[in-house]
Each structure stands twice: as structure tokens, then as C-alpha cells.
């Protein structure tokens, strides 16, 4: 059974990882926790549901469209909510508060327009499981895990090996000097938000397929936040490692100790990290983090 639990943990963790990656991307660039990230994922889940259920598109088409939709929403949110605050050189705390406001606005928008009823994705992927030596791996879990791996490899390549990545890293290091050197910082920030939003949309669709779609789906981002803190705020590989760790820990606590204590352990981990090693596993400097 321990292998089954490990598989369970990795599948839960890989969805957290997808969300944590986008989260860490934005943190590494702009230095603030985008609390609306989970809600972008939630909108992505609703978009995917709409494309599959109402428009009867094949699942891969719906996925790509939902991805783009969420990315677009992310770009728009940057333009509307964050850009002005950033330009005013306000403290990064303001960005975080704007993100909280955006989060509530998105949730309530969906609540008012679509309604609070739970929506289930039509079964585009069979609820079957593959049995490997007594361990059951859900088909959806396998696909979401593979997707996470592909996305992470793609991201690595993008950030480390392309000019785009170089520009983003430069802007992250020092925005003013980068813009002096000719990098259109606004454009790159929009592109990073597009990327992070798409990642959120992807994780939202997977969450929606796996569980159900409801306006509070964005609360998963809290786990992504904890994963990021654990892995080191601002470090993308750290966020992934943190997410997998949290996925595994949650599964083992729920299976062997008590399901009721699951969240207690996760949040205690957050407190422990902040007390013992605030930079997390891979993080760099210690300063006021918003």
C-alpha cells in the first residue's frame, strides 16, 4: 500500500506543482505573492468546462483554449490591477492587497454569473485506472503528471536557454537597469503573466477534471503558496520540490495519522519553515517579502 500512497502523493503534488510554478514565476519577477493566481486557475477550469460541456469541443482543444483564456485573463489583470501600482513605485505590499481584491472579485463574479452549484466535467477521459503491480494509477493523474513534467522541462529551457529567459532574469534582477539597457520591461512582464496564467489555467483544468468545478477552487493556491515558501520564494525548482513534498506529506498524514490533521501538518510546516529557515530550501536573500 505504501507505493499506492506514494503514487497518490505524487499525483496530488504534481497539480500543486503546476500551480506553484506559475506562482513562483510571478514572485521571482515582481517580488509579490499573487493571491489571485488560484482564481485564474479557477476561471481556467470554468472555461475548460464551458468549452467541453457547452460547445462540445474535443478535450485537447478545450484544454488549449482554456489555457489561452486564463493566460489572457492574467495579462488583463496585470494591466488593470498591478501595472499602475508598480509604476507608482509603491511598496510591494500594495500589489499583494490588489491581488487579494482581484481574487475576491473573480470568485464573486463567477458566483453571480455561473452560480455556486458544483459542475462536473463530462467524462472526456475515462475514470479508469491502470494497474501496475497492484498499484492503481488513474489515467487523469498520469496525464497531469506527464503534462507537469513537460511544462517544467519547457519552462527550464525557456528561462535558461533563450533570449526571452535572459531578458526576464535581467528584469527580475534589476528592473530599472534592465529597462535602461533596452529591455521593454512592460512587455516582458505581460509575457510572464501570460505564461503564469496559462500554467494556472492548465492546473485549473486538471483540478476541475479530477474533482469538480466550483468558485472556491482557487483556494488550492494556498497550498501552492506554502509549497513556494517551503521551496524558497522566488525559486521555480524550489516550488516544484515543495509542491511534491507537500503532496506526499498530505497523503501520508491522511492515510496513516488522521485526515483531520492533514491541514494542521501543512500549515505547521509553513510556520516551521518561517521560523527555522525563512529562505526555504532554495531561496536566496532574506528581506521583507510581501
Amino acid at each position: 500500500m505504501i507505493w499506492q500512497q506514494i503514487v497518490n502523493g505524487i499525483s496530488v503534488g504534481s497539480i500543486y506543482a503546476l500551480m506553484a510554478t506559475g506562482y513562483a514565476l510571478i514572485y521571482s519577477l515582481l517580488g509579490f505573492s499573487n493571491w489571485a493566481h488560484g482564481d485564474i486557475a479557477m476561471v481556467g477550469a470554468y472555461l475548460g468546462f464551458m468549452f467541453i460541456a457547452s460547445m462540445n469541443l474535443p478535450w485537447w482543444a478545450a484544454l488549449i483554449l482554456a489555457l489561452l483564456g486564463a493566460g489572457l485573463l492574467s495579462v488583463i489583470s496585470e494591466r488593470l490591477a498591478y501595472r499602475k501600482i508598480r509604476k507608482n513605485n509603491s511598496p510591494t505590499m500594495f500589489l499583494m492587497i490588489a491581488a487579494m481584491g482581484l481574487s475576491v472579485a473573480l470568485q464573486n463574479f463567477i458566483l453571480v454569473t455561473v452560480g455556486s452549484k458544483f459542475k462536473t466535467y463530462p467524462q472526456v477521459l475515462p475514470v479508469k485506472a491502470i494497474n501496475i503491480g497492484g498499484v492503481y494509477i488513474g489515467l487523469l493523474d498520469l496525464i497531469s503528471f506527464l503534462a507537469s513534467v513537460i511544462v517544467i522541462i519547457f519552462l527550464y529551457y525557456l528561462i535558461e536557454r533563450t533570449k526571452f529567459g535572459l531578458a526576464v532574469k535581467a528584469a527580475a534582477a534589476n528592473m530599472q537597469v534592465a529597462s535602461l539597457l533596452g529591455i521593454n520591461v512592460d512587455r516582458y512582464i505581460s509575457l510572464v503573466f501570460l505564461l503564469a496564467g496559462s500554467l494556472a489555467g492548465l492546473s485549473g483544468v486538471f483540478l476541475g477534471m479530477k474533482y469538480t468545478v466550483y468558485p472556491q477552487l482557487g483556494n488550492f493556491a494556498l497550498k501552492a503558496f506554502i509549497a513556494s515558501v517551503f521551496g524558497g520564494l522566488g525559486s521555480v525548482p524550489g516550488a516544484i520540490v515543495g509542491a511534491l513534498f507537500i503532496g506526499l506529506m498530505e497523503v501520508f498524514v491522511a492515510g496513516y495519522i488522521s485526515a483531520g490533521l492533514r491541514d494542521l501538518f501543512t500549515f505547521s510546516l509553513l510556520v516551521a519553515v518561517l521560523v527555522i529557515r525563512p529562505t526555504g530550501l532554495f531561496g536566496k536573500d532574506i528581506q521583507d517579502k510581501a
Partner: protein
């Protein structure tokens, strides 16, 4: 300076206007009997609360057309309890103190009614729970009766027994496992009553795991159950959690039938988990499956533009008719007279069957219907006393 002055004046004017408007309180009308309803009108269980309120409004119309109660018109006022104990208590208080209702019907959640019962006693307004099935709704944990708390549905010990007997006697189960919601009185209670009867029948509980409603992933707990390999699994949750649990259980290769209580009772369950609950069973209140309910069903569909009614609508109907019958026996319109008449009910015939009230516990003796799922459809399996 000029701008802030204008804003201040505007603000004061708005404040005064809103105070004046709210001072126009509704007049207390002597010829109207006001009955309140508390239910989840928003949130994930709104499908039930809304059905209950719709049912009561439709029934009030029907009663008024037939002459009202003791010659007076019935007015139903519904407030949102959100399925939460605190919000339900607040809704109850508002109904009694502001809307001046004489009785309240609702809710269908044990946790809410357990919180509301002492308030009903304190404010001396009868409260009739609909599907709330935990014994503590009418009798508190020290064994003291709540004089103003009643119910129209059966109680969990009975439901648990029916399910355990079904498992042992008809399904031939020797071992069982249970996954229950630690946040719900209903779920923990039902699980406990099932276990007591199952063990009394000679069965063995091989796994007991807990979860929390609001969690999405139950696979770590279900893996523990899969390992224990029981003949049946008791899943006493609300339908949306049952859907998640059932789907995840099948994904983990668990093939045992699932058992549940009236929390399963919603058409949404089939939409969300049709293949996974095939061959599973649940107990519920007698519902629209009974042909005697057809005229009411048709009236509901006509009134609410083809909205399929949930069983809670039947509760709303029977609740209001029970109050009418009790008032007619009492002969006077006062909360105390109503209370006494409700308590001394020896026979009330509603669409959900006939009931008598036990004065010691305020619990009615009512049969339970068992349903199963065959070929993606809910099928009535039998009635059990």
C-alpha cells in the same frame, strides 16, 4: 474643500434616507399567520433549501385558496441559513423577532437544528426540522427534551439500522468499512449507528477512516480501505462528497458496493458519479417515487417552470399541512397552543406517509425507502419499517 463638503452632505442625506426607509417596518397583520422557513438558499446545498422554500410557497398558495388556516391567510417567509449552524440560528432569530413568525419549518441539517433547538425553546416558537435526522435535534445530550423542537423525518439510529440490516441480511456482508465526515454530526452519528447494528448482526468493521467535507482528495483514506478489502463500504456524506469518494474509490480498484443515507438524495449524484455508484444503496425519506405525490409534483413543475423538485419540497408541503392540522386541533393561534398540538399528534397523514409523535422524544415513527442504482438510473428498492 468644496468637494469634501458636497460629499459629506450627500453622505448625510443618504444616511438619513436609508434610516427613514428602514423605519417603515412591516405592520403586524392580525389576519395573517406567518410561518418561517430556514434553509440553505445559497451555497452548495442550495438545491435542497430552495426546493423546500418553493414547496412551502406553493403549499401556502394551495392552503389559502382552500380557505387558509382557521380562516386566516398563511404567509411563508424564507431566510437563508446557508447550511451553517451560526447563519441558521441568526435566520431563526430574525424570523421570530423581526418578521414575527409563529412557527418555523427547517432545516434539513442536523448540525443547524441542534444549534437552533435551544433558541426555539428560549423564544418559545415551535421549530419543525425537515430531514435533520440526528437524535440530538429533539433530545439534547443529557436526555432532556427540547419542548419546542420537532421533526417530520426519521432519525439516524433508525437509518443506520436499516442500512446495517440491509448489508448483513440482504447483501450477505460479513465485513464493512466506513469513511465518515468528522465535521458533520449527521455523518459521524450515522456511521456510529450503522456500526452498532452491523456488529450486533455479527459483522466485523475492518476499517474506519475519516475525512472532511471540503477536501477533494480522499484517496489516501480510500487506499487504507482498499487494503482492508471489506464487503461493503458505508459512505454517510452529502452527495457532492459521495461523488468524489465513489469516483476515487473506483479508480483505486475498489469494487465493493457503497451504502449511504439521505445525504445521497439528489439527482446531481448520478450526473457526477453515475458509473461509480452503480449497484450501491442508500436510504432516504419517502419521496416523489410514491405515486400519491404525483399531483403535487405536477403542480410544482407547473409553478416553477419545469424545475424538478427535490424531496425537501415534500417536507415543506407536509410541514405546512402539519402546522395547519395542529392549529385546527388547538383551535387558537398562539405558539404555545401550536406546540402542545404538535406534541400530541396521534395521526397526521402527509404526502410522505402517516406519522404519530412520541411525546417523550418528539420523534415520529416513519418508514425509510431504500434506493439503488441500476443502469445509471435511481431505482426504488424497498420500504423498511
Amino acid at each position: 474643500m468644496k468637494k469634501t463638503k458636497l460629499v459629506t452632505v450627500l453622505f448625510v442625506v443618504m444616511l438619513m434616507a436609508s434610516m427613514l426607509l428602514s423605519a417603515c417596518a412591516p405592520k403586524a397583520d392580525e389576519d395573517v399567520i406567518k410561518i418561517g422557513y430556514v434553509g440553505a438558499l445559497s451555497g452548495e446545498t442550495a438545491v435542497w433549501g430552495q426546493a423546500g422554500l418553493n414547496g412551502m410557497l406553493l403549499t401556502a398558495k394551495e392552503i389559502n385558496e382552500a380557505g387558509g388556516i382557521l380562516g386566516k391567510k398563511v404567509e411563508v417567509i424564507g431566510l437563508d441559513g446557508r447550511g451553517d449552524p451560526t447563519d441558521s440560528v441568526n435566520a431563526f432569530r430574525r424570523l421570530v423577532t423581526e418578521e414575527k413568525v409563529i412557527a418555523v419549518v427547517g432545516t434539513n441539517f442536523s448540525s443547524c437544528n441542534i444549534a437552533m433547538a435551544p433558541i426555539a425553546d428560549q423564544l418559545e416558537i415551535p421549530l419543525i426540522a425537515t430531514a435533520a435526522s440526528n437524535p440530538k435535534v429533539t433530545v439534547d445530550e443529557n436526555g432532556n427534551l427540547h419542548p419546542y423542537s420537532f421533526r417530520i423525518g426519521f432519525i439516524d439510529p433508525f437509518q443506520g439500522q436499516v442500512l446495517a440490516n440491509l448489508a448483513s441480511n440482504e447483501l450477505g456482508a460479513k465485513t464493512a468499512a466506513v469513511i465518515y465526515d468528522i465535521g458533520s454530526d449527521y455523518s459521524t452519528g450515522l456511521a456510529q449507528y450503522f456500526e452498532e447494528q452491523f456488529i450486533a448482526n455479527g459483522g466485523e468493521m475492518v476499517a474506519k477512516v475519516e475525512g472532511h467535507s471540503g477536501d477533494n482528495d480522499f484517496r489516501s483514506q480510500l487506499s487504507v480501505i482498499a487494503e482492508a478489502n471489506p464487503d461493503v463500504i458505508m459512505v454517510p456524506w452529502i452527495y457532492k462528497d459521495v461523488a468524489l469518494i465513489a469516483n476515487q474509490a473506483r479508480e483505486l480498484g475498489i469494487t465493493a458496493p457503497l451504502l449511504g443515507g439521505d445525504g445521497w438524495d439528489s439527482p446531481e449524484l448520478i450526473t457526477m458519479a453515475g458509473p461509480a455508484i452503480e449497484g450501491s444503496f442508500y436510504t432516504s425519506q419517502p419521496s416523489f417515487a410514491n405515486p400519491v405525490t404525483k399531483p403535487y409534483y405536477d403542480a410544482y413543475m407547473a409553478e416553477y417552470e419545469n424545475l424538478v423538485p427535490e424531496t425537501e419540497a415534500l417536507f415543506g408541503h407536509d410541514g405546512l399541512y402539519w402546522i395547519k392540522e395542529a392549529f385546527e386541533r388547538a383551535g387558537e393561534v398562539s405558539p404555545k397552543a401550536l406546540r402542545d398540538a404538535l406534541e400530541s399528534t396521534t395521526q397526521f397523514d402527509g404526502l410522505m406517509g402517516s406519522m404519530a409523535v412520541d411525546p417523550a422524544t418528539h420523534n415520529p415513527a416513519k418508514p425509510a425507502s431504500v434506493y439503488t442504482f441500476t443502469n445509471g438510473e435511481r431505482v426504488w428498492y424497498g420500504d423498511y419499517k
